[in-house]
Subunit: 172 residues, 2 copies
């Protein structure tokens, strides 16, 4: 192999992006952690944006492929395949979460997990199995997505169904 530097840059960038957010990460930080200089990055990537794009592109391609090259079929099977697909890209999803976390200097990530833990406690009591916890994540996370996707609608048109679906996910 003539050079794996390009891949190493991407690995370190992914790491830093997930740690502290994309926009909060400078090329200098990336080159420092690699032990090389900033201009060296420009030999492998035309621009900062080119580097970022190269990291997010696989997620885009996989999603595009999934929604196009696929016919109607068993919904359950589709849910399973879809889960496996987004699972492979979970590091990029963590990137987003940590972009939120670094908005201020607020440690929002820690808070977020603590809130979830306590919410699950309120929902299901103190003793919860891992299975119940996962179900609760689907319920609470699914509702959260509704507030984004239907942000423009009146709440009465969203809340009843969203709550109903969340309760079903919980097994209630």
């Amino acid at each position: 192999m003539p050079s794996d530097t390009k891949a190493r840059i991407q690995a370190v960038a992914r790491e830093l992006f997930a740690e502290q957010g994309v926009r909060n990460t400078s090329l200098r930080q990336i080159s420092d952690r690699l032990g090389i200089t900033k201009p060296a990055l420009y030999y492998h990537f035309a621009s900062r944006e080119d580097l970022v794009r190269s990291i997010v592109q696989p997620l885009i391609d996989d999603h595009d492929r999934f929604v196009t090259a696929r016919g109607p079929g068993d919904p359950r099977e589709l849910l399973e395949d879809y889960f496996e697909m987004i699972w492979r890209h979970r590091q990029v999803f963590v990137m987003v979460l940590n972009d939120l976390a670094t908005l201020g200097q607020l440690d929002l990530t820690d808070r977020l997990f603590d809130w979830r833990r306590r919410l699950v406690g309120l929902l299901l009591g103190a003793d919860v199995t891992q299975e119940q916890r996962i179900r609760a994540t689907v319920a609470l996370g699914g509702m959260s997505d509704c507030t984004v996707e239907y942000a423009g609608l009146p709440i009465e048109e969203v809340k009843p169904t969203a709550v109903h679906a969340a309760a079903a996910a919980l097994g209630l």
Copy 2:
């Protein structure tokens, strides 16, 4: 009222943050849209971080209050109250989504909505009621949250339950 400028600054900031992401928004853009100058902002906020914090703080306070000042009770009622609480903060959630969208120059927001639309089509066919669409959002969004919250676990410990809960949310 001695001055509502502080509130107007926050309103414009929230607007721009949701439009183009937090880190991509400069104080100059905020002051420009308000028709004032940048130093004027510093009369009302000690720093840029202080401004951002003042916008995110209500979400933090509401979450803290929700998980503390509340005993165990009817799970269904809790889901409803929780939904109403996060619904009030949906603008902040959109901020995060758009921070993702502006990572590169990729129009990820549009893509995201398009993927969701097509996934719902694959799951439920062409004719979908609004109710089915919301249920699908809970299912797909909930699974997506699992990939973040349990990113460190082996997939076999997450996927079966996550898919099962998603199917239940869909009414399958």
